[in-house]
């Protein structure tokens, strides 16, 4: 049964066997390619059995019932949902399993007395859905603690009240005469008053709070005239009704709040699959092994004190600053942007955020988590970034209301003064009428509908923005700053360039044969590119971790053999001096001869050239619209290539530290520029948070983007100029919609000022203006999208077939996966021989010069 099926790796075969044993073969029937390659076993979940740590992961625990939520990035299709929700059938102790597809989460209700938490995680891993757990998960329901009721509840109540009030108001439009109505009049007015209370004091409280905050801060938010309108409406209505002078405007009040809430609900981004809310703790592991005497105990990284010794395994991130107790090779890409790992000796200082490669290492803690470099990077940036953004008022609606609010108040006072001679009562009537009709219902809906719809188009195009504010700021940018590694260049896809004397086909074949026996990603590349020529075999192959691989190889049928060495300059025999150990690239040695070296050049992303060309071409008048800059944490080795891509005069800076990037962005902002930052990884977090718009460029959307305003999918990088143009067009669309709403306001104000604003007029004006503005906004969003060539998103973009491609599980050959710090080095390309376990990866990168860290 198994023999006629092909599997990409032993993990998948195991998963198949397991699923088959359980009689769950339908898993494979539901989709063409369910599941994802099972990454290596070896994730250690035993720390979950620690009562203190494990309990922090649980959402609920009491006696024989516990609830836990796991995030499973591997969930991507209906088969996943199907299989996971059948866990009660094949895992003893689990009695309910529920998947939240949008958030890629699994909620398990289980009996902790029958199965341990770690066993659950192991089971999940066995079927290919290893949970992703990080430090932020230990803090419990920080995200889900909603102190205020969900918007949809308020919307429901508002809809109920508004609909019924409007029905009860119908008689008033047709013929209002309290004398002839009898007892029914009393019933109707009291019902209306009763129904308006929930709207005023429950659904509408959002606006009271917001207006109050805006007043206190002195910000002319649009919520102030809205609150004024609500007050005018309710006061006037209660007075009219109770004094018998009129039917009141409660239907307009209810309608107003209902429409506003609809607008707010429409523009809300309830993302499941993108984690914008998380903070830096998502990048840290949930537990780290602390060495205590002869044993190692898992602890939460926060608990580490200076002097403690941590035991870090390959692929794991060092959580706190410390000093190495043995040599290690570290990857700092994550926090400095350097693309090449460093070899450090015992006693060297290391910083939290570095990833350990190759072999486990012990580190003595120097600074606890709270004061480590990584945390300080985050704290400073996050704090600075937030205040900066709030200070610059760019939201169109707020800008407009800065002029609109004073205008309305002035007009109201003038009208009141004008009508004063007719009696104070009449004048007050006019006052309230002006405030009522000036209440910017349409104005407040222009941006939510137009931009809310635009965000959905952008989703379909691969740009996922956090909220409509980000879209508004995107349109105002004049300076674009790019990170290099991982943003403009694609990790893992490099060009292998050979430098040195020409090699004969026999020599190439020999090198390829030796390289084919090594599991190192660079060896695999060499074997892939140089193999396929003359057939050659290798023998006596030996691999030295961190140095290189050697063997004897020769072309079949040819007598001559070569002693091949592939590796660092020192390993290949170029010398032992400092210069040799600092040399970059993979060096070759053939029978003692030293022909040359291979250099891996990271390839540009496929969209980079197109994006930069399009941006340079964008014009504002006769000048370039955008100023471009490059800020890279990497060494200046690729200057020429970058220089060629960027326009003349663009500043290219290399070797920039994360703080340096943040400072550069702030300097530009101080000069008055609106800065957009494109980056990836934590090393850009500061700049991303500080910039007016910070976009994370990602291959895989299951990472964490706490500092960013949005995520640009790497495949959409080429479309960037188009997306920027769309953003600019949408800003114009909002102004158009506001213009339409103002037209209605002019009509309404005419009625109000001349004393003709009956409840009927108000009741018609408000829904009609709201509807028109909404339709105009939606149509413009759609029209501009078509003009920009953006396709309509087929439903939520997270469900589009493209998104399901499990290519984010395709092993990353030369760079470990940064978005899931708990995973060890990826297994790639399957086992060398069928049935054998995948080889652990050894890094062949030659020694880099030892810089002081």
């Amino acid at each position: 049964m198994l023999e006629d099926k092909a599997f990409c790796c032993s993990g998948c075969r195991t998963a198949y066997q397991l699923i088959h044993e359980l009689g769950l073969e339908d898993y494979y029937a539901l989709n063409e390619r369910p599941g994802a390659p099972v990454r290596q076993a070896g994730n250690d979940f035993s720390w979950m059995d620690d009562p203190v740590l494990g309990n922090r992961l649980l959402r609920f625990r009491s006696g024989s019932r516990a609830v836990v939520q796991f995030r499973l990035p591997a969930i991507h299709c209906s088969s996943c949902v199907w299989l996971l929700e059948r866990m009660p059938q094949f895992v003893d102790g689990v009695h309910e399993a529920r998947v939240h597809f949008g958030r890629r989460e699994l909620e398990l209700h289980y009996n902790p007395e029958r199965i341990a938490l770690s066993a659950l995680a192991v089971q999940l891993q066995r079927i290919g859905y290893a949970p992703d757990i990080n430090r932020a998960d230990l803090d419990g329901d920080q995200e889900r603690n909603k102190s205020s009721d969900p918007l949809i509840k308020r919307l429901g109540v508002a809809g109920f009240c508004a609909g019924n009030i409007m029905l009860l108001s119908f008689p008033d439009y047709l013929d209002w005469d309290p004398a002839s109505a009898g007892p029914m009049w009393d019933l109707v007015i009291w019902l209306k008053i009763l129904l308006s209370l929930p709207i005023l004091f429950y659904s509408g409280t959002i606006y009271w709070k917001s207006a109050w905050l805006a007043l206190r801060r002195g910000v002319p938010s649009v919520d102030i005239p809205i609150a004024l309108g609500m007050i005018a409406l309710s006061v006037r209505s209660f007075y009219d009704i109770l004094a018998g002078t009129g039917p009141g405007y409660l239907d307009s009040l209810a309608g107003l709040i209902f429409f506003l809430l609809v607008g707010r609900w429409f523009q809300d981004r309830i993302y499941g699959f993108l984690s914008f809310q998380r903070d830096y703790k998502s990048f840290f592991p949930a537990s780290v092994l602390k060495v205590e005497g002869q044993t190692r105990r898992p602890v939460v990284p926060d608990e580490l004190l200076p002097g403690d010794v941590m035991f870090i395994r390959p692929g794991e991130i060092i959580p706190a600053d410390g000093e190495l107790l043995s040599p290690a090779r570290l990857d700092y890409h994550f926090i400095t942007g350097e693309s090449e790992p460093e070899l450090l000796a015992a006693g060297a200082p290391v910083y939290g955020g570095a990833r350990v490669l190759e072999s486990p290492v012990e580190v003595r803690v120097v600074k606890g988590l709270a004061t480590s470099y990584l945390t300080s990077l985050w704290d400073r940036d996050a704090l600075r970034g937030q205040s900066h953004r709030q200070a610059r008022m760019t939201r169109i609606t707020d800008r407009f209301s800065r002029a609109f609010t004073p205008f309305v108040i002035t007009l109201a006072m003038v009208a009141t003064a004008f009508w004063w001679p007719a009696g104070p009562a009449r004048a007050l009537e006019i006052l309230t009428a002006v405030l009522i009709v000036a209440c910017p219902c349409g104005l407040a809906l222009a941006a939510p509908f137009a931009l809310g719809h635009a965000l959905r188009f952008l989703d379909g195009a691969g740009l996922h923005l956090r909220d409509t504010g980000a879209l508004e700021r995107l349109a105002l940018l004049d300076t674009l700053v790019f990170d290099k590694t991982g943003t403009l260049t694609a990790p893992g896809q490099g060009l292998l360039r050979y430098e040195g004397r020409e090699l004969s086909p026999e020599e190439r074949a020999a090198v390829a044969a030796v390289a084919a026996c090594s599991a190192h990603p660079l060896s695999v590349r060499i074997a892939g590119e140089w193999g396929g020529g003359l057939p050659a075999t290798a023998s006596e192959v030996r691999e030295e971790a961190g140095a290189g691989v050697s063997g004897i190889a020769g072309v079949r049928g040819n007598a001559s053999q070569y002693r091949v060495r592939i590796g660092s300059a020192v390993y290949a025999g170029y010398g032992e001096d400092r210069e040799a150990s600092a040399a970059r690239g993979v060096f070759l040695s053939l029978n003692g001869d030293l022909p040359g070296r291979l250099i891996l050049e990271p390839a540009l992303r496929s969209g980079t050239r197109q994006a930069l060309e399009g941006i340079v071409a964008a014009r504002k008048g006769s000048e370039s619209r955008y100023r471009l800059e490059l800020l890279s944490g990497d060494k200046a080795l690729e200057q020429e290539r970058m220089r060629e891509l960027f326009p003349e005069g663009a500043a290219l800076r290399f070797g920039v530290s994360p703080f340096g990037k943040l400072e550069r962005v702030e300097t530009l902002q101080a000069e008055g520029h609106h800065v957009g930052m494109f980056g990836d990884g934590l090393n850009d977090a500061g700049a991303l948070a500080a910039a007016d718009v910070g976009l994370a460029v990602a291959d895989d959307l299951s990472g964490y983007f706490p500092a960013a305003d949005g995520v640009l999918h790497a495949r959409s990088l080429g479309r960037l100029p188009l997306l920027l143009r769309y953003a600019r067009a949408m800003r114009g669309a909002v102004w158009t919609a506001i213009g339409v709403s103002m037209a209605y306001n002019v009509v309404g104000l005419t009625f109000a000022v001349s004393g003709l604003l009956t409840p009927l007029v108000a009741a018609i004006l408000m829904p009609v203006s709201s509807l028109t503005v909404a339709v105009v906004g939606l149509s413009l969003a759609w029209l501009r999208a078509r003009q920009a060539g953006l396709t309509v998103a087929q439903g939520p973009s997270s469900l589009s077939p493209d998104f399901f491609r499990p290519d984010f599980f395709r092993p990353d050959v030369s760079r470990p996966d940064f978005s899931r710090p708990d995973f060890s080095e990826p297994d790639f390309a399957g086992p060398k021989t069928p049935g054998s376990e995948p080889q652990p990866m050894t890094i062949l990168t030659p020694a880099i010069d030892q810089r002081p860290v």
């Binding site: 949008g102 109920f160 499941g272």
Partner: protein, 53 residues
């Protein structure tokens, strides 16, 4: 004609009942996830009865 008073009150009561059910559904988390039920609905019933723990 005054029966309309009764009718108005009755219909409001029914509508209030629906509102109550709606609020209950929201509180219970029904609207937290609107993508997964769409997937679940397409599954066939299991051929064997699920074992209950």
């Amino acid at each position: 004609m005054s029966v309309i008073v009764l009718l108005i009150l009755a219909s409001l009561a029914v509508a209030a009942g629906f509102l109550g059910l709606f609020l209950w559904a929201v509180k219970d988390g029904q609207y937290d996830d609107d993508t997964t039920p769409a997937i679940r609905i397409l599954f066939d019933d299991d051929k064997r009865r699920k074992r209950r723990h």
